[in-house]
Structures are given as C-alpha cells and as structure tokens.
C-alpha cells in the first residue's frame, strides 16, 4: 500500500520533470521567435522613420500633447494631458517588431509560445506539488521552478490587462530559460518530504509571498536595466548624436526612458508592501519555530538589507537630485540583494535556513 503510493508519487514526479523539460523546449522556441521579431523589426523602414521622427521631436523637446478618450463618444470633450518635463517629449518606441508586419507576426508567435510554455511550466510545478504532497518550494530546485512560472504569470497577466509590456518578452524568456536551466542542472533535487522545521502553514504564506515579490521585482529590475540604456540613448539624441546603427535601432524601439522608469517604479512600489509582509510572515514563523522572531540569521539579514535598499529607492524617487539614474542604480542594487539572498546565502553562507539548500 505504502509502496504503491510512493510509486504513484514517483511517476508524478517524472511527469513533472517531463513537463518542465517540454516547457524549456517551448520557451526556447519563443526565444527564437522573439529574436526573429527583433531582427525583422530592425529591417522595418517605419522603425527608421519613427527614429527620424524622434530625432526631430527631440530638437524641440519641451511638451507634447496627447489626447485621450476622445474616440469613445464622438462629441465628448477631450481630456488633454500635458506630459511632464522629465518625459523629454520623446515618445515610446513602437516595440520590438517596429512597424514590420513579419516582425509583428513573429512577436505574436513568441507570445503564443510563451503562453504554451507557461501552461507546461505550471503543469510541471503542479505535478511536483502533487508528487511531494506539499507546496512546491521546499528546496532551491522547486523554488527556482515556481519563481520562473510566477514571473511569466505576472507578464501574461499584464499582457491580458492590455498593459504595454510586450517589449519585456525577450528578456523575460531569456531569464526564465536561464533560471530553469540552472534549476534542472545544478539545483535538481528528487522529490521528497520536508524536515519537521519546514512543516508549517507559514511555509505556504511566507515562501509564496517571497516568490511573488521576487518575480515582480524581477520585472521591475528588467525595466530599470533597460531604462538606463534607453536614458543614455535619449540623452544622446537630445545632444544631437546620430540616431543610426544597430544599437540605436534596438533602442528606438523600446519605450521611452520615462515610461520604463515609471513602469519600474510602479511594479516595485506595488510589490514593496508584499515584500514587507513576506519578511513579517517569516518573523512570525521564526517565532513559532525557533523562539525568536528576529535573530539576524543570514537569510533574515539579507531580507532586511533588500527591504532597506528598496526603501532607499522609494525615498530616492521622492527626493530631488536622486530621481532618475541614481534611483535606478538603487533599484538594481536592491534586486541584486534579493538574488544574493536567494542564491548567495543558500550556497555560500550557512544559517538556520540552510536545510532548504542545494
């Protein structure tokens, strides 16, 4: 009886592995489709034209006016918005595909493939959970797997909400492939139960919040990273640098620096309370398991450091002279702390949390 159940679990674990490998294969196809999207996009004449337009606009960057909501009711008064001074007046790029139809087609294929891979990926996570009969984040392999799935979920949700996030596709798929590659090769752990210290419903709450926070922070960090490049490019434009070459061709298809910056701020700020809650849930669990809610264990310390650097970033955004690039560096540093807390602390530093290790 017991062995039969164990065999079933083992089978489900195998299914989980197959699903994860299939997801990786489909993500790879999505990656290639995104590459095709960017490549075709760079050929697009319209992309170059719009770049020319950008160049022209930046010559007189003061203010642009967009109209909104005028289309629904023909007669309805329009709400005119004035863009802010920090916008530089440079509009968002057209996206990876430029205006190239073939590029756009590949982009759509890439998104469909990403969605398909996501289904397989989530299937893999669920099968893993079923095989171990608990939450699928008891060790680094499971955590990585679930983390990747959550990042893709966040992206797909934003797409469904019709947010302008298509530009993130290539970077996301690349990162998820790296994450899964690392998970299946270095971090793989055959499915099994947990040590008693991990038996707690706080495991569900604390770790799931950590995963969601990390996945969203990841989207924010990607946007921040691209912001730094695009900002550089825009500064070049306003100084009259030539808007030519492959690099410019890539840059001009990205959203405007101001849009990237705003997107990064929004996602980081939106998930900061959740990250705060994650740490608190961890403290409550530590209180139940070890008799103290805070003991400066390395994992706790690095969660605290991550939290403080994100708080720094939020402060920087509200402080004259620190907005823009300086705040962006802080955001990247904060995310680096998050990643270090996950890989670095688990691998290099042993603390009370280390049984969830490799």
């Amino acid at each position: 009886m017991i062995t039969a159940a164990a065999a079933v679990n083992e089978n489900v674990a195998h299914i989980s592995n197959y699903l994860v490998y299939s997801a990786m294969a489909v993500y790879t196809l999505a990656f290639l489709a995104h590459i095709a999207e960017w490549t075709f996009g760079s050929r697009s004449k319209v992309a170059v034209q719009s770049a020319a337009l950008v160049g022209e606009q930046s010559a007189k960057p003061a203010v642009t006016v967009r109209s909104q909501g005028g289309t629904t009711v023909l007669d309805r008064p329009k709400v005119v918005t004035r863009t802010t001074a920090s916008d530089r007046g440079i509009p968002d790029g057209p996206g990876a595909a430029g205006e190239d139809e073939q590029g756009d087609l590949y982009g759509r294929i890439a998104i469909s493939l990403t969605a398909l891979a996501w289904v397989l990926h989530v299937g893999g996570v669920v099968a893993r959970a079923v095989s171990v009969e608990r939450a699928p984040w008891g060790n680094m392999y499971e955590f990585s797997m679930t983390f990747g799935a959550t990042a893709v979920t966040a992206y797909l949700v934003l797409l469904l909400l019709k947010k302008n996030v298509r530009w993130i596709g290539l970077f996301l798929v690349t990162a998820v492939l790296l994450d899964l590659g690392l998970a299946v090769s270095v971090l793989y752990t055959a499915s099994d139960q947990l040590v008693p210290a991990l038996h707690s419903y706080w495991l569900w709450i604390h770790v799931s919040c950590a995963i969601i926070s990390g996945a969203v922070f990841f989207l924010g960090a990607t946007a921040t990273f691209l912001y730094l490049f695009r900002d550089n490019y825009e500064v070049g434009l306003t100084q009259g640098k030539p808007n030519k070459g492959t690099w410019a061709g890539i840059m001009n298809r990205l959203p405007a620096a101001a849009s990237l910056d705003k997107f990064a701020y929004r996602v980081n700020a939106a998930v900061f309370p959740l990250w705060t809650f994650t740490i608190i849930a961890g403290a409550i669990w530590a209180e139940a398991a070890w008799g103290r809610y805070w003991g400066w264990d390395p994992k706790e310390t690095w969660s605290f450091i991550t939290w403080v650097v994100y708080a720094c970033y939020l402060h920087a955004r509200a402080t004259a002279g620190w907005k823009g690039r300086k705040a962006a560096y802080l955001a990247l540093l904060a995310f680096a702390c998050f990643i270090f807390n996950y890989y670095g602390v688990n691998i290099f530093i042993t603390g009370k949390h280390s049984y969830a290790g490799v």
Partner: protein, 592 residues
C-alpha cells in the same frame, strides 16, 4: 517629482503641499551665513556668535531631517548589516564564532576591536540606526503638524490658467454657470472629494489617506523599534536537556544555561514546570532523504503556578507550548544510554541514563560517563571515567569503522573507552559534563597493553582489567532538548508591523489629487466649463479620473450644439503652440 515642482512654481498655491515631504534645502552655507550684521563691541560679537551657532545648529538639524540624509542613513544601515551575515556572530552562534576566531588568529583581534562579532549591538551599527530614528522623528513631527493643518484647510483655489495643468478638459454648455458649479460640487462630493467653492470655480481634493498612511508607516517604525528594544531588555532565554521521565522547574539553577536580558532576573521567572513523559520521532525510511526526520514530538505533563494542576500536552517543532509568559520550544533530541557501573569493591557506584549528544543527522552521538565515587579493589579512591559513542543503528565499514547509518534504534550499540584516576571534578573549575578531562587519568589497558574498549549491545557488560570494576549497558532512553524563552512585547511588535503594512498600502496605492471645475459665461453668453486635474507625478490616472468627472458632469452641463471653432481637432495645434513655447523657455531657464 520635477513636474510637481515646476507645477508648484507655475501654479503657486494650487500645486503646493500635495505632500508633506520636506523641501530640499540645496543652498550652500559658509561661515557668517547666519550671524547677519555684527554690531560693534563685545555684546555685538556675542550676539553674532550666538546667532551664528544657533543658525548652524538649525542648519544641521535641517540636514539631518532632510530626505537626502534619511536616504544616505538608510543606505548606510543596509551596508552596515552586511558584515554580520558573513562573519559568525557571538550572539547567534557562539561556537562558530569561536571556531572562526581560532582559525583566523591574525584578523580576529582586529575584528574583535571593530565589534564584527556582534555587529548588531556594536556602537557603529547602533549609531546609524539611532541617527536614522532621530532623523525620522525630526521628519515626522513637523510633517504630522503640517498634515493636521492641511486636513483643516480648504482645497487651494483654482489657478488662473487651468490649461497649464497636467490634465485639462473644456466644453461649452447650455447650462448656467451656477448650475454647473452646483452640479460639480455635488458630483465631486459624491466621489468623496473635499470641495470648496471660490468665485467661479469649485476646488476639490482627495487622497489624504496617502499622507496619513505614510505617517502611520513611519510612526509604526518607532513602535517596532521600541518593541524590539523592550523584547531584548526584558527577555529571558535558556535551554534544558531532559531525559525521558525527568522533569524541569522554571528556576535559574535548573537550566543548563540561561541568558537573561538586562532587566530580567531570577525573581522574574514564572513558576511552572513539566516532565517529559516520552519522545516520539519518525524518519523517512526510503527515498533520497532516508533518515530525514518527519515528526518530532515531546509528550509532556506540565503545571503552572506553585500549586497548579498537572496537564497533559505535547511540544513539537514549530508548535511551542506557552505557559504563563514563557514559551517552550523543542530544539533537539537524542539518546541516553542507561548504564550501571560497579567499582573495584563490587559496589554499584553509578546507575542511570547519560545523554549522548548527536553529532549528525544519523544521530551518531558522543558522550561521557563520570563516576567520581569509585574505589579500586583495595578501597582507595580511584575515579572512573568513560568516553565514547552511541550508535542507534550501528554498522561497521572498512573505512569508517563503527558508525550509525540511521537515526532510529534499529541496532543500538554503545562503544566506550575507560579511564581511571582523577576526573578533576573537585578542582573547583567549572567542567563540561559532555567532556572528559583525561589529563590526570590513565586509560585501561589489558595484559597485552591493548586499549580496553567494547562494542556493547543492550545487556552487555564490559569488565575492566585488574578487577577495577565493570560497566553494564542496561537500556536506552530518549532525551529532548528544550529552549525556554520569555520575550515580552511581541504583541506590540506585531501591532507595529501590521500598522506598517496598512500605512504602506495607503501610502503607495492611494494618490493625492486635486480637481478644479470652473464655469464662466463667455463673451457670446454661452457658459464655458473648464476642468483640470493635478496629481503627484507618479499618478497617470489623473486623466482617467478627469474623464469620469467630465462624464458625470455632462448630464448637468450638456454640450452646446455647435462646437466653437477654436476647439482644436488636432491637439498639437492651438494651445500647444504657445504652451510649448512657454514651457521651453521655462525649461531653459531652469537648466541655466
């Protein structure tokens, strides 16, 4: 926030005080900045110096409570927390810290001086967070006052030129201006704006919870700091190893070790006690994690108060037992072999269970048995000591010799070496009960000079040479290790963090914004409605919100039939031309 700043300068009071964040003071100061005119004579000099000193103090205070310094202090705090995660800390793991000191003899003294073995209570770490909290106090007190003022004040009056605001809409209506304003006020009130009518315009504002949330968050940080401090100062923390069947009463002397906080002492321990009836452990018996623990449970009886009734309960990992203000945690477990020792005269000089401490997850355990009352054949005092290991599932291999391959009692064995001589227990020096000091002891050897040692199973006896006595392995008991902590103010800490999260949510998800509606009769007798909205720079929703206000207002103020010719179809034409020209020159002015 540069938008808000430009807006504030452009719009005067209308854009002012959208938040209570302190203004940046970017001016430079030099000696003589504050003193003003120096009157002649000593009195003048003194007055000048006084003004100068006071000026500097105020300047430094303003710097300390500025956002920039708060930012820098926060950053320093994160940096300062790093070394404590890389270097073993005495308060979290004294053994590891000592190992580190032993291994790094050159840097250890330097680290010691820098407080790197107790980073989180070191002067420099404390300095950073104390400065941060002073800065925080200096920040939130004035901000709270300002906020109260803002709550009492009316929304600022509409700026003259509404077209300059980030979101703007206008139309011509057949309704009377008064009707429009009345309707606008009702509508905005319904949308929970605070409104005020001033002249030909309605001013309104919403989203004060943002500011309130932000203040609550920062005040709750204080709550957390205080709770943490109280928790550290009034805490008591000790551990106790209990063998099956034995008990514990909560007094300082019954602990194996006890570390009280600064203000917590022997008199504060609440009277309770418990006995360990039995201990259950189950382990994975197959799979890659074979031997990994599944459940640990200590079954106990406890009593609370001097004459409390006995109650049955259990303690598990993650499930501490709370008695009075103390919590009992299960921290570890192991085996205690039961032995009987006879000395050279044949008397039983020791009988009982001795805890052997686990060294790994398969519960390879080591321990010692000290028998101070033993005599040799001739009746002379000759103390006996045994050291060795206990193996719950003993196996033997070529490379490792005897070891345990599984944590449960599948094939228990006790392996002991025997010594005689002076245990050193009477020397007055404190001794570790888990270590044998063999400095003044001789190991038993048989006639051939081989060391006497035996792998004993339950029931076996090891006889010592020369009639020095014997030791019998009678049985096995389990023991459990408990941590008993008393930590006050955890409830306050929890309350603080809940307020922090609530405050954060208000602060980050609510937008503070203002909407103005103006209705005036134009030159041709038709009413012109103008709407404008202003939010903080991060709020993109202000245009959408203005859109819904427009929709809500249209039934009250229906559009006049023909569109005025000056209403532009392409928005890059009419107001834009002059706007961009104006703003550009302002921008240039700002840059210069």
């Amino acid at each position: 926030m540069s938008t808000t700043e430009t807006d504030e300068s452009e719009l005067g009071t209308a854009g002012a005080q959208l938040s209570t964040a302190p203004q940046e003071d970017l001016g430079t100061v030099v000696p003589g900045s504050f003193g003003g005119v120096r009157a002649p004579g000593l009195g003048g000099g003194l007055a000048w110096t006084g003004r100068e000193v006071w000026g500097w103090v105020r300047w430094m205070w303003r710097q300390l409570t500025s956002m920039r310094v708060a930012l820098i202090l926060l950053f320093l705090l994160s940096l300062a927390a790093i070394p404590g995660s890389l270097i073993p800390q005495t308060n979290t793991n004294a053994v590891k810290a000592q190992d580190f000191k032993d291994a790094h003899t050159t840097v250890a003294p330097i680290y010691e001086k820098l407080g790197l073995f107790h980073v989180y209570s070191s002067p420099w770490f404390s300095a950073i967070y104390i400065l941060l909290f002073i800065s925080l106090a200096g920040c939130i007190v004035p901000r709270s006052w300002q906020f109260v003022g803002q709550l009492r004040a009316k929304p600022p009056a509409a700026p003259r030129n509404l077209t300059r605001l980030p979101a703007y809409a206008t139309w011509r209506t057949t309704a009377e201006p008064e009707q429009v304003l009345d309707g606008a006020q009702k509508l905005l009130r319904k949308r929970r704006f605070r409104t005020a009518v001033g002249g030909s315009a309605v001013a309104s504002e919403k989203g004060f919870l943002r500011e309130a949330g932000n203040l609550i968050f920062h005040i709750a940080l204080f709550g957390l700091l205080i709770s943490f401090a109280v928790g550290q100062l009034w805490k008591g923390d000790g551990s106790k190893l209990i063998v099956e069947g034995d008990g514990f009463t909560n007094t300082v002397t019954s602990y194996d070790d006890f570390t009280p906080g600064t203000f917590y002492g022997a008199d504060d321990l609440n009277p309770f006690g418990f006995t360990l009836d039995s201990f259950t452990a189950t382990y994975a018996t197959s799979g890659p994690d074979i031997g990994t623990a599944r459940t640990f449970r200590a079954n106990i009886h406890y009593w609370n108060g001097a004459d409390g009734k006995q109650q049955k309960s259990s303690i598990e990992v993650n499930k501490p037992l709370e008695i009075g203000g103390s919590k009992i945690y299960l921290n570890g477990h192991g085996y205690a072999p039961v032995v009987t020792v006879k000395d050279g005269t044949g008397t039983v000089v020791y009988q009982g269970a001795v805890a052997f401490l686990p060294t790994d997850t398969d519960l390879n355990s080591t321990g010692v048995i000290k028998v101070p009352d033993a005599r040799d054949k001739s009746g002379k005092t000759d103390q006996l000591g045994f050291s060795g290991s206990f193996l719950p599932t003993a196996v033997v291999s070529q490379t490792r010799g005897w070891y345990s391959s599984f944590p449960a009692l599948a094939n228990p064995a006790l392996i002991l070496n025997a010594y005689h001589g002076d245990l050193g227990v009477d020397s007055g020096l404190p001794q570790n009960v888990y270590q044998l000091d063999t400095k003044n002891m001789k190991q038993f050897k048989d006639a051939k000079g081989n060391i006497v040692s035996k792998v004993m199973q339950v029931g076996d006896t090891m006889t010592l040479p020369d009639g020095a006595g014997s030791i019998t392995f009678n049985g096995i008991k389990t023991f459990a290790q408990f941590q008993i902590t008393h930590q006050p103010a955890t409830g306050w800490a929890l309350g603080s963090v809940i307020s922090m999260i609530a405050g954060l949510i208000g602060s980050l998800f609510i937008q503070r914004r203002r909407v103005w509606v103006r209705a005036v009769r134009g030159a041709d007798g038709v009413t012109v409605v103008e709407l404008a909205g202003l939010g903080r720079s991060e709020s993109a929703k202000i245009a959408d919100e203005l859109g819904t206000v427009v929709d809500g207002l249209l039934p009250v103020a229906p559009q006049a039939s023909e569109d005025p010719p000056e209403e532009p179809e392409d928005p890059t034409e009419d107001p834009t031309e002059d706007l961009s020209a104006e703003t550009r020159s302002e921008d240039e002015g700002a840059r210069a």
